[in-house]
């Protein structure tokens, strides 16, 4: 399983000289399975660059949306494969009582916000509620589960063989509780992330920033670390960086995170900050 980060920023794109290294594009992660199947996690502005990289004929593209906040769908309208008649796309996302996934996304891809309507997209695109049971995409098994954030929000687990990626970019599992001593059954996202080979998790705020943002649906650093510790993730990638966090700031945050991770008994070599264009290959267990 190969993973490439196309956008690691949260909330709003934040391009500029101060975000060159970690990047300013919002959430988008490409997962390429052993048979070449492509799964795209979220469609933030990072998906635009991914689309440009998928220049030639590609198999069906599978997009898993965690939720429909703008920073997770804004790139859809600029995803080049969507404008190719020969493209096939399947888009999964959280269900909601008031409207279908297609209709909710159409609120963005329609006038006056967009010059193009969903029905005008030339590609073959299907919108589907994420199933309530696991399902297969290519050689991988996919699981979706609701997690603590504002509005209907999913986390995903992609498992191929004995390798698993868990993606929970927007998550506030410690809202109203403390994760350190909480029974695991009561931890949002626990089953989804348990023992993952790689956990990509929300770390929008520093501990100092968090008190002004309680309930906004995001994690402070110590909660992200504690969550990863409790679920016993093998590797952790901190994600969904606050738009105010510059490269230098994130370097410092990374240092603090490594200290905290070390204090929890983790291997600091297994902790990293999400950075645009970063590529990670998850090897099968016997090779790790």
């Amino acid at each position: 399983m190969k993973i490439k980060i196309w956008g690691a920023r949260g909330s709003i794109p934040s391009p500029g000289p101060e975000t060159l290294r970690y990047g300013g594009n919002t959430s988008c992660v490409q997962v390429t399975l052993s048979d070449g199947t492509i799964i795209v996690l979220d469609a933030g502005t990072g998906i635009r660059s991914l689309g440009l990289a998928l220049a030639g004929p590609v198999p069906r593209i599978n997009i898993l949306l965690t939720h429909l906040h703008l920073d997770h769908i804004q790139g859809l309208m600029f995803f080049a494969p969507a404008f190719r008649p020969q493209s096939e796309m399947s888009i999964w996302g959280p269900e909601a009582p008031e409207a279908s996934l297609r209709d909710r996304i159409a609120r963005y891809i329609s006038a006056p916000l967009s010059p193009v309507e969903i029905r005008e997209l030339p590609c073959d695109v299907r919108f589907m509620d994420a199933p309530h049971v696991e399902w297969d995409i290519g050689p991988a098994r996919i699981r979706a589960a609701s997690v603590t954030h504002r509005g209907p929000t999913l986390g995903y687990r992609i498992t191929e063989g004995d390798t698993s990626l868990c993606y929970i970019p927007d998550h506030e599992p410690a809202l109203g509780t403390t994760l350190g001593d909480l029974d695991r059954a009561w931890i949002s996202g626990y089953d989804l992330a348990c023992g993952a080979s790689l956990l990509i998790h929300d770390c929008q705020y520093t501990d100092g920033e968090y008190p002004d943002h309680v309930g906004w649906g995001h994690s402070r650093m110590t909660d992200a670390l504690m969550f990863a510790h409790r679920v016993e993730a093998e590797r952790l990638l901190l994600f969904h960086h606050d738009p105010l966090h510059t490269d230098d700031f994130l370097d410092v945050l990374h240092g603090s995170a490594m200290t905290g991770w070390d204090a929890l008994g983790g291997d600091s070599a297994c902790l990293e900050m999400g950075a645009e264009r970063r590529e990670i290959e998850l090897a099968p267990a016997q090779a790790r």
């Binding site: 959280p94 269900e95 909601a96 009582p97 509620d129 199933p131 309530h132 049971v133 696991e134 399902w135 297969d136 098994r141 699981r143 979706a144 589960a145 609701s146 997690v147 603590t148 209907p152 809202l175 109203g176 509780t177 695991r184 059954a185 009561w186 931890i187 949002s188 626990y190 089953d191």
Partner: protein
Amino acid sequence: MRSVASSYAGRMRPIATLDGTVNDEQKPLELILARNLLSSISTPGFLVDEHNELVFYNDAAAELLGKRFEEVGRLPAEEWSAMFGPFDDGGEPIPVEELPLVVALRHNRPSYARLHVHSLNDERHEIEVAALPLVANAGGFRGALAIFWPIHDGEGTAA
């Protein structure tokens, strides 16, 4: 692990696997959020899951009931109702199916009652109870939440 078909035939957000099993351990998000809310307030509150099993009550409720939840643990409806013995003004036990939590869960509607309980340290309290069902965004019962309030001597019934 139980069969998906038998226990989650409704619109259940996963934790179900392709081999037809479901993890009993992980609580649904709606229960997690309800528990976190109860943990954060000093209004006595009680939480049951979709099987009507007591899964949590907070410290404020523990003051009325006489023991912390951690000392009591998860209990099926017959046990938790018998343990706290809800009874009416005449001292008669109130049938389980008439308890607000059970009404909320079984009939999918809010429910209110004024009743008496005896605590585990043998004190009696008259309380008002308001219960509401927890229905997930995508549909399907997750459980029910009850808030209760002690009535002190001389206080009338709430309007």
